[in-house]
């Protein structure tokens, strides 16, 4: 069917703005991310919940392990990564769940951009929320557990792990957005896939805290980077399939 009537009304043919190279693509990604961040700054719904949950989790873990472990640095790596994963799930499901709840997903998909631009926009905003969460959690952990996590390799591992987590998490959030019980479905899908990141992150953090030589820990960083890369490529290839036919 030709859309003569529609083009007649608008005075010009309707077309998707798919050209323009990398910089145009990045502008579209930024447009989606900026929309999300602006909505978040006004509603203070997602990131604030994640941060409060993260801080609460630090306190709860502190109470759980207080005086029961000889050195708190023995449990801190696990606590850090568990908090990032669990607090992340809270925010990730909202990134598409909120769109479905407000019936704005169709509107977003009608925007004249590639579906992958929408995905990467959401990914950027989720990454920002996760980094803000970590910015709050790390100093509180320093106080509560008397363990300094501000060490370059720990932060690098956290950075790479968060990127991988946000990549997969945003993608699965898009997949589960339309299913019943998406709040409970997302962690069930996401957490087993995140085990390599979790294991590599915990091992790297523990190794650095124990003062082991960095040369023996580089392989964990490589695992994190390879995970990021594999899922970046896989998601880029496959993301268009999620929304066709909706």
């Amino acid at each position: 069917m030709r859309n003569d009537t529609l083009s007649g009304l608008l005075g010009r043919p309707v077309q998707m703005r798919t050209g323009g190279g990398t910089s145009a693509f990045l502008r579209k990604v930024w447009a989606v991310a900026a929309k999300d961040i602006r909505a978040e700054l006004r509603a203070k719904e997602v990131a604030s919940t994640m941060i409060v949950f993260g801080l609460l989790a630090v306190v709860i873990f502190g109470l759980a392990f207080d005086l029961r472990v000889p050195k708190s640095s023995m449990v801190v790596p696990g606590i850090l990564w568990v908090i990032v994963l669990f607090a992340g799930v809270l925010g990730l499901h909202r990134s598409f769940g909120a769109e479905v709840d407000r019936d704005t997903l169709a509107g977003l998909l009608l925007a004249p951009v590639e579906p992958s631009a929408i995905y990467f926009g959401k990914l950027a905003s989720n990454l920002l929320y996760l980094f803000v969460l970590e910015l709050f959690v790390l100093p509180v952990m320093l106080v509560m557990f008397d363990t300094n996590l501000f060490q370059p390799y720990i932060l690098l591992g956290l950075f790479l792990g968060t990127i991988g987590y946000a990549e997969v998490g945003t993608f699965f959030a898009a997949l589960t957005a339309n299913s019943r019980a998406r709040e409970s479905m997302l962690p069930v899908l996401l957490l087993p896939v995140m085990v390599p990141v979790f294991m590599a992150g915990v091992s790297l953090t523990a190794g650095i805290l124990d003062g082991r030589p960095v040369s023996g820990l580089v392989s964990w960083l490589v695992i994190l980077a390879v995970f990021d890369l594999i899922f970046f490529v896989a998601v880029y290839w496959i993301v268009d399939l999620i929304w066709d036919g909706i």
């Binding site: 339309n178 299913s179 019943r180 069930v188 087993p192 896939v193």
Partner: protein, 247 residues
């Protein structure tokens, strides 16, 4: 009266004869696998006592391993087929593949644990190979839950296919885990593992047994797979008819 109706329905169903043959074959194959694994295969010469007895479970462990991998491969074929063709036949194939792969995955974990108790002196340890195998099973369990959560059949098929493609990444990861990381899991074929505990060499009767059990398990897999595939297509037909009725 009842016998005539049942016999006509048998004639009308083209699946009936082949499936029955396959069922009988699978039952015989399991008997053959038990005989070969427990009686025909000689004991491993470098092991002793309980370890030597426990080693016989290796044939069933490998049989389940091959069929689980086969199930997950079938799920990838079905998923790619659905994404290219958009026909639910492929999606049902993927679902049947995942279900059987997960079932045999549990068999792998169970036989492995039974073997590990006498050999490693513990049922479970967080070894790389064990961890990755468990994750694979968990990921595919999540796949089944995920399918349940969606009502529209084509949306469900599309999303499940996409997830199945991601899930399959864990299968080669499991395969290479005992080769890449320091693992105590034995690597019997293509390269030894320096840290492995409880490994053994394959003698002639053991090699023959292994081939027999793998073939037997594949026959069992095919029988179960075609039953499930057919059952799912019947289920889908019922759903079609119900939709027609309530229109």
């Amino acid at each position: 009266m009842t016998t005539t109706t049942s016999s006509t329905s048998k004639k009308a169903d083209p699946w009936y004869g082949p499936l029955l043959t396959l069922d009988v074959l699978a039952a015989l194959a399991m008997v053959l696998a038990l005989w070969a694994g427990l009686l025909y295969a000689k004991d491993a010469t470098n092991l002793a006592g309980n370890e030597q007895t426990a080693q016989h479970i290796f044939y069933f462990h490998m049989g389940a391993n091959i069929t689980a991998t086969l199930g997950f491969l079938v799920s990838v074929v079905g998923s790619v087929g659905y994404l290219l063709r958009r026909s639910l036949v492929w999606d049902r194939m993927a679902q049947a593949g995942v279900e059987l792969g997960t079932l045999f995955g549990f068999c792998i974990l169970a036989t492995g644990s039974i073997w590990a108790k006498p050999t490693w002196n513990t049922y479970w340890t967080w070894d790389p190979r064990l961890t990755t195998a468990t994750i694979t099973v968990l990921i595919y369990l999540a796949y089944m839950l995920f399918r349940n959560g969606m009502d529209n059949r084509h949306t469900r098929a599309r999303f499940a296919s996409i997830y199945a493609l991601f899930a399959f990444l864990s299968v080669p990861f499991t395969y290479y885990s005992a080769r890449m990381f320091r693992s105590i899991h034995p690597v019997v074929f293509n390269g030894a593992n320096a840290d492995a505990q409880g490994g053994f060499n394959i003698g002639p009767s053991m090699g023959q047994t292994l081939i027999i059990t793998i073939i037997c398990f594949v026959i069992l897999f095919l029988a179960l797979f075609f039953h499930r595939w057919r059952q799912l297509s019947l289920e889908s037909r019922i759903e079609d008819l119900r939709e027609e009725l309530y229109q």
